[in-house]
Structures are given as C-alpha cells and as structure tokens.
C-alpha cells in the first residue's frame, strides 16, 4: 500500500490530476485539490503515480507507507 500526499499550498487548481484519476482526486470550489482516498492499492499505483506526475507544480506525491 502507498499513500497520497498533497501539498495544498502548492496546488494551483490546474485539475490535471482530476482528469487523470477522478476516482482519487477532485478540485473544490476554491480551486484546491481534494484527495478522495489517501491510500493506493498496488494495482492502482501506476495510474495514481502518473496522475501525480501530471501536476504542473508537483503538489502531489505517492509515498510508500
């Protein structure tokens, strides 16, 4: 299992993460990322890592627990 760490101050609301994995990320009305589930199953890991890397300001990380 891995966990998602979001830097809410860095987030600029570009929404690339939502387009890449809308079951994991959303953006609130203020334009800040909402992490819908903080743990990542191994089978989802590649997809969530790729969503994290689509962030233009590197506000998302997937870390080993």
């Amino acid at each position: 299992m891995a966990k998602i760490v979001a830097d809410l101050d860095a987030c600029q609301g570009y929404a690339n993460c939502v387009l890449a994995a809308d079951d994991v990320f959303d953006i609130d009305d203020d334009g800040v990322v909402v992490v819908l589930r903080t743990t990542v199953e191994e089978r989802d890991r590649a997809r969530v890592e790729e969503a994290a890397r689509s962030c233009p300001v590197s506000a998302l990380r997937v870390e080993d627990e």
Binding site: Q12, Y14, D22
Partner: protein, 410 residues
C-alpha cells in the same frame, strides 16, 4: 536487454522515462540532454522563477538521486546529431553511437531568435539560462520592451510590472494572446495589462532595434521610438529537428507521427511534446501542440505503447493550457483557435468569468476561464466526458459570479 533512448530531458522526455518505469518497463533507459543543467520545468521561467519567488532547485524535474532510483542513465551535455532508423542507432557530436530498440524524440522547440539582431540585452525566454540572463537585466530596473504578446510575452510583461519596471508591450495583432483568443476576449486581457500599467502598442510591428544593452531604441512601424534597457522577443518557437535532417524521417514542422505517436516507416521511433506532429485520430489532420500538459499526456501514451507495442492506443487528449499573469489565472480548455465565443458567464470587472465555445452538433468545443475554479473543472470534465454545450451552460449559469451592482440611485 531492450534499450530505450530518450533524446531530450525536458518534461516530455523525463515523464516518458518515469512512465516507462511505472508501467513496468525493465529494459535500459538512456536519457540524453544537450543542456548541462539537471532537467527542469519550463513554465516558471517566465513567471515565478523570473520573479524570484522560486529558484532553480524548486523547479527540477529530476535529481541525480531520482534518476538512480528509477535506474535511468541520465547524460547531460549530450548533443545528439543524427538518427539512423535502418541501423537503429543515434549519433552524438563526439561520434559516439548508441544502439536503440526504441528511441523517443523529445527535443522540444527552440525560441525563434530576434530577427532584429541578437546582442546581449535582447532576450528570448526558453531555457533556465535565458531566464537567468533576463532576470539579471530586470534587476537593473528601468524600462523594457516586450515584443510579442503570446503567453510568454504577456507573462514576462506581467512579471516585469510586478517587479516595478516600466513595460512596453508590442504586437502587430490587435490584442494579446490572439492565437488563443479572438479579439473581443483578447480585449479583456489587454485591459488587464493596461490596468497594471503596461503601455500597449498593438497593431504595430517592430522595424528595428538600435543601440546596446542599457540603451536600446526600438523603432516601431507606426513611427514610435521606444527607449529601453532590455528587450524581450517572444515571437514563437520552432521544433528542434535539425538533427533529424539526415534520418530520412518525415520532418515537416516537427517529426511527423501517426495517431500512436510513432514515426511513420521507422519501427521503434516515437515523438512526444513540442517536436511531435501527429495525425489526430479524430480529424485525420496533422497537429503539433506546444503545451506542458500535452507533453505529459503524450509521454504516458508512448510509454504504454513501448511496454505493450501490440496493443497501442491512439493518442487522444483535450488541449489544456494555463497562464498566470499578475494575480490572474487564465486557463484555456479545448482547441478553439479561430472560433468565436458563444457565451460569456461571470463578471469581467472582478476578473472571474468563463467564455464558452460551442462546437458542431451541440457539443462543447472549449472554454477560456479566468479565476473561476468551478468553471475550469466543469468544462474540463465535460470535454473529457463529451457532454453537450447546453449541459455545461446549465451547470455553470446558476453558479456564475454576478457583477457587483452599483446601488447608487437604486
């Protein structure tokens, strides 16, 4: 063991390498970069990095440690001079040849140089070194002239105003960012720059630049002469393909690729990012896009195809680009060049609005959004889901910010 060579370590190249590992590629990955800098992210070069609110370390795409962790061979200062698809080799400036099973062309685009002479103090903004040189000149204060009001020019103008310089913004077209916005929308952004003290010179070109760093005179075609300590030329970029000239590959404003981003007639050759001109699966037209998100999406597409070459999926992405100017976030969804907006929602005066473009058959062609997060996420999701224009309008209309009414005389 299979070897994938990636030529170019800007965002397209780096993300391809990372995605290859995420997708389970266990071959050798060689990442070649002609610059000697560790890979870095380019969008901040005209914004936060230029302004000084972020530094080079904070915009790195890859560190030595991260490269090691991913088992990437990262070679900096590597000038690739040729690609031989028959021998499946690339050649470096020092005549070294590297054999590949797959090669990913990610050499990006170079800023179009100033046609009015290239001397110190006349800047382009494409690399970290460019941004550092410009920043040094901005530190001298005074006046700058920015030629070209595309995203780069408009962002540099905003940054320079934020730093307190006098700024002249020159463009032969009538409004800023006119590749992205028709004139009526462009006028809103012209107003933004004027409100921040930029002196606009639109509808006029540059005849010549005289003088030297610290004391340039920029002569405009309307007869105006502008004095400036430095000049920034932001007139576009050209794909970096000269090294492919002897390859026999189809090069025409980029490396020509099929809908899977594979170079035609050359097994194992792919392209991503600004240098990639691919045949769009939907329209059958060749297109090239110079946006960050496109490079990242293409990197993933190519990585997946390299890992599973027998089941490639056509590249399909919805264009998205952002620009930060002053305290405004300007975001463009979809490709609506040449189209005229159908609806403006929200409040221009307070800088929170969206313009929507209708496509054929009631579809949503795209949107331009300023400082309204809900409109951005709604339109991006709608484009991805193929929702209709009317659906999007129905969702956004009730949520649209209303102008603040002047109550006087009510």
């Amino acid at each position: 063991m299979s070897r994938t060579v990636i030529v170019g370590a800007s965002v397209g190249g780096v993300r391809t390498a990372q995605a290859l590992r995420s997708e389970g590629y266990d071959g050798e990955i060689v990442l070649l970069e002609r610059e000697t800098e560790l890979p870095y992210n380019k969008p901040p070069l005209s914004k936060a990095l230029l302004k000084g609110t972020s530094d080079a370390d904070s915009i790195r795409l890859l560190t030595r440690e991260a490269a090691e962790e991913l088992d990437l061979e990262l070679v900096l200062g590597a000038e690739v001079t040729a690609l031989d698809p028959a021998l499946r080799q690339i050649q470096l400036a020092d005549d070294t040849r590297i054999a590949y099973d797959n090669v990913v062309v990610a050499t990006g685009a170079d800023a179009r140089p100033s046609p009015w002479g290239r001397c110190p103090g006349v800047h382009v903004v494409r690399t970290l070194a460019d941004a550092r040189r410009l920043r040094a000149d901005l530190d001298n204060g005074g006046t700058i002239v920015v030629v070209g009001s595309g995203f780069i020019g408009a962002e540099v103008a905003a940054t320079a105003r934020d730093l307190g310089l006098e700024v002249h913004l020159v463009d032969p077209l009538p409004t800023p960012m006119s590749r992205g916005f028709e004139e009526s929308v462009g006028r809103i952004f012209l107003g933004l720059h004027q409100d921040h003290g930029v002196q606009p010179h639109f509808g006029t070109g540059v005849e010549g630049i005289d003088g030297e760093r610290g004391s340039f005179t920029v002569r405009l075609s309307d007869g105006t002469a502008l004095s400036a300590g430095a000049v920034v030329v932001g007139i576009g970029a050209d794909p970096n393909t000269t090294w492919l000239a002897s390859s026999g590959l189809a090069v025409e404003d980029g490396l020509v690729c099929d809908q899977y981003l594979r170079a035609e007639g050359a097994p194992g050759v792919y392209a991503v990012g600004d240098v990639c001109r691919w045949r769009d699966a939907t329209t059958d037209e060749l297109i090239r896009v110079e946006h960050w998100t496109n490079a990242v999406d293409q990197a993933l597409c190519v990585a997946r195809t390299i890992v599973a070459p027998d089941s490639p999926r056509p590249y399909h992405a919805i264009d998205y680009v952002w620009s930060d100017q002053y305290d405004w976030k300007i975001q463009v969804v979809g490709h609506h060049e040449g189209a005229v907006a159908d609806t403006l929602l929200g409040d221009v005066a307070s800088g929170c609005f969206a313009v929507l473009y209708a496509g054929p058959g009631g579809s949503l062609l795209g949107a331009a959004v300023a400082n309204w997060p809900k409109a951005l996420i709604t339109t991006r999701k709608a484009m991805a889901a193929g929702s209709t224009y009317d659906d999007v309008l129905a969702k956004l209309e009730p949520a649209a910010p209303r102008p603040v009414r002047d109550m006087e005389g009510a």
